[in-house]
């Protein structure tokens, strides 16, 4: 593998590919592509490496790890160390931190055999699915509609970024007094249409309130990410597409979507993770009610931490971490496979 990378880098020296890597990123230089073609007999996952190799120094060096050291040591202190601690706790029955008893995997078995856990998991998965299927398409759509330059687009971006700056524990208060309160603007609007909005006792209404609130809160992030990658597409690409007689849909599919793919991946991951583990917002709106209809995974964990059940809380944390990790990993694998397929299709 190493040899292959080095070899490819040598063939694709800067002098052949016109130097600045920006150029590569914007235009697929035919000469480079032919090299990929001849060398793409490797495993598919290696292609991404081949693609990025011309921008990188080919020196194998351990000094890179010295540059990574500050970041990794901070992460080790605030990330790895707590995770290890909690992993350790999850095998103990803990009264106080000094007196604890080894009980093996009992907490895990207890949690994984309770129907409550699977119900909460299902609710969290459904919530994330709804959030992603609304916010990602809507965010892309808004980003596409915004004017690409000038003051209007920028004003829109600034406005959409505003909800991101609202403290998470007042977002629910804002929405409850806006939509949940009959005297609020949203509540009055709904009353005009004869809707009796009752977020406290009607499960459907609680869900609608949560989804609307989360969309309001986070749509700006998706739009900002998409917009910023769209504005790096040079006008020449649109002109070329117009000359080829591409439809609007084709322009989106073959010019805009490829440019956005990485940013969309980031938006997907961020939105998935934050909606899947939604805590403050859901808790403040209805504390998991009515009748547990909005009890998500994190609310169960919050309850356990509040009751100082260290052992079960630790086991639960590890289970959640594993679920999130597994889903993120499969996201990435699917995205990589699909990207490799499209790359392969284009090369053929």
């Amino acid at each position: 593998m190493r040899m292959h990378r080095l070899d490819c880098g040598a063939t694709l020296g800067p002098e052949q590919c016109f130097g600045p890597n920006l150029f590569h990123r914007y235009f697929q230089v035919p000469a480079c592509r032919s090299v990929f073609q001849t060398q793409s007999t490797e495993k598919t996952s290696e292609k991404t490496v081949t693609l990025s190799s011309p921008y990188r120094s080919e020196i194998q060096t351990s000094s890179a790890w010295w540059l990574l050291l500050p970041a990794l040591s901070v992460l080790a202190f605030v990330g790895v160390l707590p995770l290890l601690t909690i992993f350790n706790y999850s095998f103990f029955d803990i009264f106080t931190l000094e007196s604890r008893f080894w009980i093996g995997t009992e907490w895990y078995r207890e949690i994984l055999s309770s129907s409550r856990f699977f119900e909460s998991l299902a609710r969290s998965l459904v919530f994330s699915a709804i959030i992603l299927s609304i916010q990602i398409p809507l965010g892309v759509f808004i980003a596409l509609l915004l004017p690409r330059d000038g003051k209007t687009g920028m004003a829109f971006l600034m406005m959409l970024a505003l909800p991101l700056m609202v403290p998470w524990n007042t977002v629910p208060s804002m929405w409850v007094s806006f939509l949940g309160n009959p005297a609020g603007f949203g509540g009055r609007f709904l009353a005009m249409f004869g809707v009796d909005f009752d977020y406290k006792f009607n499960a459907l209404h609680t869900w609608i309130l949560l989804v609307a609130m989360d969309t309001w809160h986070w749509i700006g992030l998706v739009v900002i990410l998409c917009y910023s990658s769209l504005s790096t597409i040079p006008p020449a690409h649109y002109q070329a597409a117009a000359i080829d007689g591409a439809s609007r849909l084709q322009v989106f599919r073959f010019v805009e979507l490829p440019k956005m793919s990485a940013v969309l991946m980031m938006a997907l991951l961020l939105r998935f993770m934050d909606s899947f583990m939604i805590y403050t917002e859901a808790f403040r709106v209805n504390a998991g009610g009515p009748k547990d209809a909005t009890t998500f995974l994190s609310l169960d964990l919050g309850e356990e931490i509040a009751a100082f059940n260290y052992g079960p809380a630790a086991a639960r944390s590890i289970i959640y971490f594993m679920i999130v990790l597994a889903i993120a990993w499969s996201f990435r694998t699917i995205m990589n496979i699909r990207r490799d397929q499209t790359l392969g299709a284009r090369q053929r």
Partner: protein, 272 residues
């Protein structure tokens, strides 16, 4: 033919305008509600009728050392967090962008793993750990723990900005006798200034509004805005005061958005 197409174009523009207008309404109406409530006296008080226009909420903020002090606490810890994050993320992003080393493909996965670690999962051990080293109730503690989700994002964004700078620039500078740190500060940093700005924006955004870590790490003192607001919730919540506090907490956010507006609109592409 011509007329038909121009007519459909006109319809399209109208539809787009209407849609964007709805987006504006959807985004701004809750804020409007918030502003109205923050200038309303929402609890029965002597001399002010409930529901009457009043600046009592803002006067209450100024009068309460907890509330006004929390603004300072928030600004201190967010600034610390942004500075720490960018300082450690810059060299890391440079290493990932420029060097090929054993395990480099896994670094990104590792970073993603940190970003997606649910804060609720880490609360318990972080509290115990920070209590041991005396970081509870201090802004530094919150600033450090927020690094767990901000450093991965920062490296992700900065790496794509550094990769957009031609590698030849590094090589020329080194041939000219620049050391790596000097090259970094004198030549590379000015080129990726907008990347640093975008990164700071994202770090600020995720740190300023965070609640879960901020709560467990501020038991008795050093409460940031989010936690000061938490103390307002109770049996009879003064919703007007909560909204006034929210309005105040938006001001630094607005300033950050204003400073960063050009960089965001100019665009960036992250690496997958």
């Amino acid at each position: 033919m011509m007329r038909a197409s121009s007519k459909s174009n006109g319809l399209k523009t109208a539809a787009v305008t209407l849609f964007l207008f709805m987006v504006v309404c959807f985004t701004m109406l809750p804020f409007f509600q918030m502003v109205v409530l923050s200038f309303t006296s929402t609890l029965p008080r002597d001399g002010i009728a409930q529901g009457q226009f009043s600046t009592i909420n803002f006067r209450n903020i100024l009068a309460s050392p907890l509330l006004s002090g929390s603004i300072v606490n928030s600004i201190v810890y967010v600034t610390l967090n942004v500075v720490i994050t960018i300082l450690v993320a810059l060299p890391a992003a440079y290493a990932i962008s420029r060097y090929r080393f054993a395990g480099d493909r896994h670094v990104f996965l590792l970073l993603i793993a940190f970003r997606i670690t649910p804060p609720v999962v880490l609360t318990l051990p972080v509290f115990i750990l920070f209590a041991k080293v005396g970081l509870v109730n201090s802004p530094l503690g919150i600033a450090l723990v927020h690094c767990v989700f901000n450093i991965p994002i920062a490296i992700w964004i900065l790496e794509s900005f550094i990769s957009a700078v031609p590698k030849e620039l590094d090589e020329t500078a080194f041939l000219d006798g620049y050391s790596l740190p000097r090259y970094f500060v004198k030549q590379l940093l000015p080129l990726i200034a907008s990347g640093v700005g975008v990164t700071a924006f994202f770090c600020f955004m995720f740190s300023w509004v965070e609640v879960v870590f901020a709560r467990i790490l501020t038991v008795t003192g050093g409460k940031p805005i989010t936690m000061a607001i938490n103390t307002l919730y109770g049996f009879r919540t003064d919703i007007g005061l909560v909204m006034a506090m929210t309005l105040v907490s938006l001001i630094p956010g607005l300033a950050v958005i204003y400073f960063i507006r050009n960089h965001i609109a100019k665009g960036f592409v992250v690496r997958s």
